[in-house]
Each structure stands twice: as C-alpha cells, then as structure tokens.
C-alpha cells in the first residue's frame, strides 16, 4: 500500500563509507570470534559485580529505544491517523528492524550459554515471574513483526526491479561460473511472480502486524524498566522506583521521535535530499509534551519517596541524574519555540540533546546508578566497545545498502521544501556524523 510514497536512493553501493563500515564490522567479527573461543572475560570487563556491561546497557536497553522510530511513527500514522507522516514510516521501520535485530545479535554475543536459548520455546520451562522472560519473548516477536512490516517494500522491489545489478554481476563473472542467461531470466521471472502473489495477500493482513508492532514495544519497553525493579538494594534510589516501567515507556517514545528527526536530517544531508522540515516540525511539537510528562513523573516520584534532596546533593549520582534531566530539559525548551521547530539546525541540536539525555537515563539505570557493593568497578574494555561499534556500523551499513535497493526513503516530489537535486549521487560527505550512535 502507498508504494508511491517512497523511492529508492540512486547511487553506487560500494562507496568509501561502505568500506570503512565494513572494516569496522570485520574487526567486530574477529572479536566476537574471540569471545566465543576464550570466554566473555577475554574481551569484556564485565564481572560478577557488574554482570551486565555496555552490550546490555547500550545495544539492548538504549539501542532498542533508539530503534523506537518505527513504533512511535506507527502510532502517529495508524492510530492518530496522521497520514502525512506516512512517507517517513518505511525508513523508520527499516532502522527499527536493524536496531532490534542487532540488539538480538548482541544478546547472543552476551549470553553465556546461548545454545540453551531453545528453552524459551518450551512452554514448560517458561518462568512467568521473570521480567527477562517477557522482554525476551516480546523482543523476539517484535523483530519478526518488523521484518514482516518491511516485507512489502522488499516484495515490491523484487516485483518491479529490473535486476540490473544482478545481471551486471552475472556478466562480470567468469563465463565458466556465470549462470545461463535464459535460466537467470526464468528464475527472476519466477521470483517476480511469487512476490506478486504474496504482496497483495500480505497487504490485507499487514494492519494486524502493524498493530502488533505497536503493542509489543509498549510491553517490552516498559519491561526494560521493570528489569531493574528486582535490583532494589543495588540500584541507586534516585532511579529505583515502582515507576520504572512507565518512565521507560515514555522515555522510549520521546527518544523514538527525536531519533526519527535525526535520522531524517542526517539522511537528507548525506544523500543530498531536501529536508522534510514540515513533517519533522510536527514530530518536534509532540516531543516537549512527552518530556514534560516524563520529568513530572521523575520529580513527582522523587518527592513522593523523599529523595529530592539526594537529587541535588551534587555528588556522583546526583551529577549524572542532573545531567540526564538538564539534557532532556534543554532540548525540550528549544522545541517549545515554534521557530526552532522549523529550523533543521535547531531541530538537530534539540533532538541530539533529548536523545543523549534519554539515553543517559537508561545508562544511569543499567550501569551508572547500579552499585553492587564496594570493590566493584566497571568500565568497558576496548574490545567490548569495538564489538558495540561494529554492531552499530553493521546497522548503518545495512541501512545504506537497503535504501539503494528498496524504495525506503520518502519520495522527494511530494514535499515542496527546497528543490530536489537533479541527480542524487552519493558522496557521503558526513561519515563522521553517521558514525554517531544517535544516527541509527
């Protein structure tokens, strides 16, 4: 449905940034190999006091919040019925798909006994008291749902593509290796027809998956907060509260909208497309209300638990608490001004502030505010960081490739802002910006 809203990005696949990202991915792959042969201790600084490190805190807890674009924009489009956000949805679903799939990948790297994961699929072994169980099931299902949500785009491409790249590749191969031209054409035809059969059928039931794709993140994003409820004696009282699930839910929604803004600005910049200011201004109008509600709950809850003074004690914990609050607050104050909401620069600045603040909140809960007792310290090792970096690089790499193979990005002529460039060849002027975790 609405395939006209989207278009492929033109340009070469193998750009300079492609190889940079590929190199990062390969380094990560080697380190992951080391982890599976020598044990977790060989690559990470995690310990019995800090059994969860940056992989959980960033890749899973923060990464999935950053990947909430698909969830939050789906709420706008399919529940609030603001169809003018529809052009944004496919790129959001794509980044969400990558975010979640790779969070799943880092969990598999992080798990000590991954060969036992099949236990999740044996009902007699389900442990329904466990928040982790709920998170795991929800995240696995949601990743599947995201893939299904993205399928129409892929099927559409399979159906309409001329397969020039594949044909060129077949021609480039040595004649001894190259498949027979006719055979290839026949095969392509078959794939096309199959895609043509599946797509209309999928379009009919897709709405049920889309709604599932809204229900599941509501569940597991709040549960990501619930995970730390049980660490009542370890998590600093500034963060340990019964409202953790609610705070995590609201937090992921405003991070989700901010990331959509960032992603759109960055891909417009990198792919030299006009900025989608009108849609983004609309999103930016929602964010400050969410953050105000969130800050209200944070401070209301602190007052209720008589912890307000601890928040302003200006010690280690209070410092990180205030940093998290100020970042979110600064971004929101900027967005309350209508003029800032239509300026790509201020949109960028405020979205960065809010994503950083929101992400810091999650880091505070998972790592910084977590105190298992004296004698335990944690700071990620280089290898541990590199694995996270390589996973993020893989995410960006996949995005870069898929937007050129599948119509994902909003169709340019639909918007009256700025003139589209005649040819959209890619130079990727900003690999540095794209390397930021926020850019996913």
């Amino acid at each position: 449905m609405h395939h006209n809203d989207f278009q492929k990005q033109e340009g070469r696949l193998f750009t300079k940034s492609f190889f940079v990202l590929l190199a990062l991915v390969l380094i990560g792959a080697v380190l992951i190999g080391l982890r599976f042969t020598k044990g977790l201790g060989a690559v990470s600084n995690m310990s019995d006091g800090f059994p969860w490190g940056i992989w959980l805190a960033y890749d899973v807890a923060t990464g999935t919040a950053i990947a909430c674009g698909g969830y939050t924009v789906a709420i706008l489009v399919y529940i609030r019925h603001n169809m003018h956000y529809h052009p944004l949805i496919r790129s959001c679903v794509l980044t969400s798909m990558f975010g979640y799939a790779l969070a799943g990948l880092s969990v598999m790297v992080d798990l000590g006994r991954p060969w036992n994961v099949y236990n999740f699929f044996i009902p007699s072994r389900w442990q329904l008291n466990s928040v982790m169980f709920e998170v795991a099931m929800c995240v696995m299902t949601y990743t599947l749902v995201l893939i299904i949500e993205f399928l129409p785009g892929i099927l559409y491409s399979l159906e309409t593509s001329e397969w020039r790249r594949l044909r060129a590749f077949a021609n480039w191969l040595h004649p001894a290796l190259a498949p027979d031209q006719e055979k290839l054409s026949g095969l392509i035809d078959k794939v096309r027809r199959t895609a043509g059969v599946i797509r209309p059928w999928l379009d009919k039931v897709l709405i049920f998956f889309i709604v599932l794709g809204i229900t599941l993140p509501t569940m597991h994003q709040s549960s990501l907060g619930s995970l730390l409820l049980i660490a009542a004696t370890k998590l600093n009282p500034l963060w340990h509260t019964g409202f953790l699930p609610l705070l995590f839910l609201v937090n992921c929604i405003y991070i989700g909208y901010s990331v959509v803004i960032l992603e759109s600005l960055i891909s417009s910049y990198a792919f030299k497309r006009p900025y989608e200011v009108k849609e983004l201004a609309g999103l930016a109008g929602i964010i400050p209300w969410l953050t105000v509600i969130w800050l209200g709950i944070v401070f209301g809850d602190l007052a209720f638990r008589h912890q307000l003074s601890a928040a302003f004690r200006l010690d280690f914990y209070s410092g990180f608490f205030l940093a998290q609050v100020l970042l979110v607050l600064a971004g929101s104050v900027l967005l309350f001004r209508a003029r800032n909401r239509t300026s790509p620069r201020w949109l960028f600045v405020s979205a960065v502030l809010i994503v950083l603040g929101g992400a810091l909140y999650r880091f505070n809960v998972y790592l910084i505010g977590f105190d298992p007792g004296s004698g335990w310290r944690y700071f990620p090792s280089l290898a541990e960081l590199m694995i996270t970096v390589s996973i993020v690089a893989f995410e960006i790499l996949g995005y870069q490739i898929l937007v050129k193979l599948v119509p994902v990005l909003p169709r340019i002529h639909m918007h009256g802002h700025g003139k589209p460039h005649g040819t959209h060849h890619i130079e990727n002027k900003a690999p540095a910006t794209k390397g930021l975790p926020d850019g996913i």
Binding site: A42, I79, F120, V131, M132, A231, P372
Partner: protein, 312 residues
C-alpha cells in the same frame, strides 16, 4: 465529530494505560511481607566459633567437584599453584572463609555462601527456570542444562552470590545448593557442616537453627551482637549468622526486610495479570487502526501528502 470521538477514545485509552502503570505501584507499596516457612533446611554459621581452618572450603570442592566446576584456584602471590587460594566466591568456589581484621585484638572470620532466601530474587529473575527453589526443603539450586547465561540472577541477588565463569568457553553459574545431589543425599548434612570441627556451621531446619542461635546468645551474654543475621533480611533467608562484630563489617550488608522479588513481581503481575491488559491494548488499537484504514480507503485521494493537516 469523528476526530472528537477519536480524541475521547485516546483519552480513555491513555488514562487506562496510566491507571495500569500506577495501580501496580500502589499495589506494590501496600505489599505485606512474605510468609516465612521455618521448616525449610538452613545453615547457621557462628563467626565467634569459627577457627578459620577452611576445612569447609576444601570439603565443598571435594564433594561437589564436577566437570568444569569447582577447580582449584591459584592466587596472584602463588604463581606455582601450590595452594587452592580463592580470593572470593567465584566460578570455582561456592563457599569461602574470610578474615575481618579490625585490630590485633579484634577480628572475626566470616563464611560466604548462598543464603537460600525464603523468597529468592534469582529464582524470580531467571527467565527459563534454571534456578529453582525446592518446595519442601527450600533449597535454591541451579540447573546448567536450562541456563542461558543471561546473568540476570547476578543482577537480582542482593548478596552477590551467583558467580559466573568469565574465563570459560562454556561457562556456568556457580552457587551453593546445600550439597543437594551429593553429601545431603548420602549423609543428610552439607559437606561443610559435616567437616566443621568446632560446630561453627550447624545444619538443620530453620526453626531449630533459630532456637539454637537464641540459646547460644542467652548462654553467652556479651559474646554476640544481639541479632541473628538473615532472620528478617530480604524477607528472611535460610543461611543464618551469629557474630561478635557488627554484620556490616563482615561484608553482610544492611538490607531491608522486604523481599525485592515480591516488589518486582507485584508490579509485573499487575500489568500482565491473565495477559488481559496486552490483549485489551491490542484489540483497542486494532479497532482504531482498522477504522482509520477504512476511512483512508473511502476517500483515497490522489497522493497529496501535505494536504491533510496533522493535529499535533
């Protein structure tokens, strides 16, 4: 009319969602304590009797040694590996004796091992039931054939007891299980309590251990601090302590009487009771989304994306 009704619907849905998240909190705050079962098995460690011979540590490894588990550990000062010298509980050590030194005249041994909580956080946390509490004996034990290695038990345990084998390709969680499959089966007592030469470790039912602890406190006034550690901490634990110096100095943290697992489960169960809330949310969202889709079809204008004004 239509946008108004939708707004009303969203308002209702929003307040329902709000209620769903606030209700569990108030519910959890109102929670009472857990019922303590004094018939469960437990251990009483008397720090004032312990002579620090570490026979219990050796017996523990000897008895429970298994493939990839409880191997001797070398310390930094001992490059030749002459001693089994664990620094702390670890992936190879289920119990350890430490010495707290305040001054040459004032010191105390202390033994660490699993506390076998009445309401164990690790059992509540484990997603696949690899950690379980026996209903009769109250023993909290670990099953490596189920464990996925997520280490949530380590996050959850208020005593930092479960240890993970960070240096192994096929790591396990290591913690005391009261010799469930070894010494307890054969002799009806744990290996550590069996070998203790001075009755610093007593094994038995929790109620008998509490009586014994009170008796010792009464018989030797001034010898002990006047509480039994573990009687009320985190909802009560089955591994109890007597000591002559404050427990916090022995590394036994000052913990509240509420079990964290009760708090966490109350909130989690209120949200997910009977799976009603998620199903209700899904059906409500389906209803709205389907109506929107129908509306979209009925006046499917040619694509003029910007013409429909957002109301946000």
């Amino acid at each position: 009319m239509k946008p108004l009704s939708r707004r009303n619907f969203l308002k209702t849905a929003g307040s329902c969602a709000g209620l769903l998240t606030v209700a569990p909190v108030t519910c959890a705050l109102a929670s009472g304590g857990t019922d303590v079962n004094n018939d469960e098995l437990g251990m009483l460690y008397d720090a004032t009797r312990c002579v620090g011979c570490k026979a219990c540590m050796a017996a523990c490894k000897r008895t429970n040694n298994d493939h990839g588990n409880l191997e001797p550990e070398t310390a930094k000062f001992d490059p030749d590996g002459i001693w089994d010298a664990p620094e702390d509980l670890s992936g190879n050590t289920r119990t350890v004796i430490k010495l707290y030194k305040e001054s040459p005249a004032s010191w105390s041994y202390v033994k660490y091992s699993c506390m076998h909580c009445q309401k164990p956080s690790c059992v509540s946390a484990c997603p696949v039931g690899a950690l379980s509490k026996d209903k009769q004996t109250g023993i909290v034990s670990y099953d490596k054939t189920l464990c996925i290695g997520c280490r949530y038990c380590q996050i959850a345990c208020p005593f930092n007891i479960p240890k993970f084998q960070w240096d192994r390709t096929m790591p396990q969680i290591v913690k005391c299980n009261f010799c469930k499959d070894t010494c307890l089966k054969e002799k009806g007592i744990t290996a550590c309590a069996d070998v203790c030469p001075v009755k610093a470790i007593v094994f038995g039912k929790r109620k008998d251990l509490l009586t014994e602890a009170r008796r010792r406190m009464k018989d030797h006034p001034g010898r002990y601090v006047d509480t039994v550690y573990g009687e009320h901490e985190v909802g009560g634990v089955n591994h109890l302590y007597l000591a002559g110096v404050p427990f916090t100095k022995l590394g036994l943290a000052d913990l509240p009487a509420d079990a964290p697992a009760v708090f966490s489960e109350k909130i989690h169960h209120t949200i997910y009771k009977g799976f009603i809330a998620p199903i209700a949310l899904y059906s409500a969202l389906c209803f709205v989304a389907l109506r929107n889709a129908r509306k979209q079809e009925s006046h499917q204008a040619p694509h003029d994306g910007g013409s429909r004004k957002g109301k946000t």
